[in-house]
């Protein structure tokens, strides 16, 4: 049990540091966050630089153009990039963290060949069309229909909260190919939808922070080639679940480093403006520092475990991290606002990059306890999958139970 770099890891870290130090000053200022084409160009440029330097798809297998790096090297990459102030994955999030790993695990050789190198180079942007107006936490209740017509699926339905849809080239789309009244986890299929297909209408939605990062996506008779199906028809639920673990496991990791640094800035500001004299404020800052340090240790524990298990997939332990990090992150932004006092009411960001602007971060953090599985859903995952507590009765399970044991005098659950 130790936290020190091996000589190889130390070398990797030093090389990366030197590269970041050389390349970061060549970047332009990030564009206004409302200018989506500029943001795409900015994020893609960064991804291309990573690709040229051999840092793209670090933890992807070498046979798919990745570097085959260990989970620990990936962690070092995330840590050093954040410490150096490198750009985030941005619009490449879905491609690199979700669609890419899914394609590696489940796609056909042709599909991999077609998409994986392009994702790695930053040439291809993906979005995620999973959630629907009536299928959020209960994702398996999704209703977007796909009907087979020769070599195509004809897709009709509505998706919502589709991040980066406006600039995406492809969408990982979950559709229902099975009967509408069948078992809800079966009959779901995973499709690659080119975003320039006829019949797709995007209606941008604005977040509380004023960002138009996601859209409602209306699909009317969208024809998607059957060749774009990943995995078997009806096997989409399993395929989607494989990559959720990745999203929860590594999606927020570098933000712990960010949060810990932010805390030092808040402490410095508090010393400057006198709020540090208030012992309660000071101790709340310290309490959060303890929390983020412990979360960072938990990340290292999870990464060490992933490094030594066969499939390298983060376990359900990532739910503990997601739950505690997202709540701590909100406390952090609240504390920052408190230390800033009335200053926190003014946005002074003339370029609209919003990059790190505390008022904007505070609004953005509202989504942390919702996206990628709400806090309530994480608690249920911990309770059922880690602790083995019995599942809650649902309408479907109730019906199954009722037909299985129609025992006379059975109580109805107190309702």
């Amino acid at each position: 049990m130790q936290l020190r770099d091996t000589p190889a890891q130390q070398r990797f870290r030093e090389e990366l540091r030197a590269w970041l130090e050389a390349v970061l000053p060549t970047l332009d200022r990030p564009p206004s966050q409302d200018d989506w084409q500029a943001r795409r160009a900015y994020d893609s440029h960064w991804q291309a630089l990573l690709y040229q330097a051999g840092y793209a798809g670090l933890n992807w297998p070498a046979e798919y153009g990745g570097r085959g790096a260990t989970p620990t090297e990936h962690l070092i990459f995330l840590e050093e990039s954040e410490l150096a102030g490198a750009p985030y994955v941005g619009v490449n999030f879905v491609g690199l963290l979700h669609a890419g790993p899914t394609l590696i695990a489940e796609a056909s050789p042709e599909q991999r060949e077609r998409h994986i190198p392009a994702i790695l180079r930053g040439d291809e942007i993906w979005c995620q069309g999973f959630s629907e107006p009536d299928a959020g936490s209960d994702l398996a209740a999704l209703r977007t229909r796909a009907v087979r017509d020769g070599d195509h699926y004809v897709v009709t339905g509505r998706k919502i909260w589709t991040s980066h849809a406006e600039v995406a080239d492809f969408c990982e789309l979950l559709v229902r190919t099975g009967p509408a009244d069948g078992p809800k986890h079966q009959g779901i299929t995973w499709l690659i939808m080119p975003m320039d297909t006829a019949g797709i209408t995007l209606r941008p939605l604005m977040t509380a922070g004023g960002s138009t990062e996601f859209s409602e996506m209306i699909l009317e008779d969208v024809r998607i080639p059957v060749a774009n199906r990943v995995g078997a028809e009806g096997d989409g639920w399993r395929i989607a679940m494989v990559t959720f673990a990745f999203e929860r496991g590594t999606g927020f990791v570098s933000e712990v480093v960010w949060a810990r640094r932010r805390l030092v800035e808040i402490a410095a500001l508090a010393r400057e403006n006198g709020t540090w004299e208030d012992s309660e404020t000071r101790r709340r800052i310290a309490r959060l520092a303890a929390e983020f340090d412990a979360l960072w240790a938990l990340v290292k524990r999870n990464v060490s475990q992933a490094e030594h298990c066969a499939d390298g997939i983060p376990g359900p332990g990532s739910s503990v991290f997601k739950l505690r990090f997202s709540e701590a992150r909100q406390h952090l932004d609240d504390l920052h606002a408190e230390v800033r006092g009335r200053e926190s009411l003014a946005f002074d960001d003339e370029h609209h990059t919003y990059d790190g602007e505390p008022g904007y971060e505070r609004l953005r953090s509202l989504a942390y306890t919702i996206a990628a599985g709400t806090s309530q859903i994480q608690r249920t995952i911990i309770g059922e999958r880690i602790l083995g507590l019995p599942k809650e009765p649902t309408a479907a399970r109730n019906a199954a139970a009722a037909s299985a044991v129609s025992a006379p005098g059975a109580k109805g659950g107190g309702r």
């Binding site: 049990m1 130790q2 936290l3 020190r4 770099d5 091996t6 890891q9 620990t72 805390l263 030092v264 402490a267 012992s279 000071r282 101790r283 800052i285 310290a286 309490r287 520092a289 303890a290 929390e291 340090d293 412990a294 979360l295 960072w296 240790a297 938990l298 290292k300 524990r301 990464v303 060490s304 475990q305 490094e307 030594h308 332990g317 503990v320 739950l323 505690r324 309530q376 994480q378 608690r379 249920t380 911990i382 309770g383 059922e384 880690i386 602790l387 083995g388 507590l389 019995p390 599942k391 809650e392 009765p393 059975a410 109580k411 109805g412 659950g413 107190g414």
Partner: protein, 351 residues
Amino acid sequence: MDFRPTQDQLALAGAVRDVLGKHRSPGTPGEEAPGEDGPQTGAGGVGGVDVALWRDLAELGVFGLRVSEEEGGLGLGHAESVHVFEELGRALATGPYTATALAAPLLPEHASGRHRVGLSDLTSGAPYLLEHLDALDTLLVVEVVDGEAHAVPGHSQVLRVEPIELRAEAVPHPVDPCVPLHRLRQKPLRGEIIGDAATADALLREGALLTAAYQTGIAATLTERAVAYAKQRAQFGRAIGSFQAVKHLCADMFARAELARAAVHAAAVLLDDDRADRDGADLPAAASAVSAAKLLADEAAVANARAAIQIHGGMGCTWEMGLHYFLKRAWALSLAYGRAAEHADLISEAL
């Protein structure tokens, strides 16, 4: 980096757990508090050190864990100690384990565990309450150096005091019925100075780490007990653990224990690096990590004890169910080796 516990560390924890399993634990439902030489306290329970358990653990070498092999110890580090102390916490082992283990590297003749050592931090002034006084062979006192006003690092020293020379009265009803308490009439004035400020700070820091590990054990074992009860107890025709309100309490308990353990292990590893003077060793960072661990583990132990009682319903409040022992110990330990506010202040100084 490999932050997983090693096979040896897990084996050590397993060996300690086996020994603990052969003795009665105060938290077990229906058990009375064990102990042979403590005063009668609490509702029929007997407080104090379980001498047979102490002997068995001493034989395993838990007191000389960090003493070098030449001096008769096991030559291991904090990373091993915290595994042992998490087990002690799970079983609610009662006695001056922390102080005796802390004293061993300082007084290697104590590595065998044949003598029991107490430690009292009197730097914050009255009240002067001592634990397990009647069972002690030696008492270490951390005191503010004469003329220094503040209980801050760098202003204290370590005295070695003979317990029998102290004038103290037994507290009739200590909150934790397993841990006899004595109230000193005055600060011990006489004693041999055996350590300077650096020694004093190191003792308190290491004590905070071991206490945090013990609290993590409390938090973890209570999660398991609450989950087991939630699976077995039925109301409204279903296991109470299927109700989300209960399930989510259990999930939060688990998250608290996991986070506390990660913090404790990180602090142990950083302290070991500092002691071995390895590359990148950083004592201030290690000290902050210990404070973080103590803060989170205290919180986890107290909050999980409350949650475990809540999940057990009326039974949770009974003496018989034994959960109160954990809550009482968690309260007591959260006031030992630095309270939350003190550790928060230490962390904030480093920010």
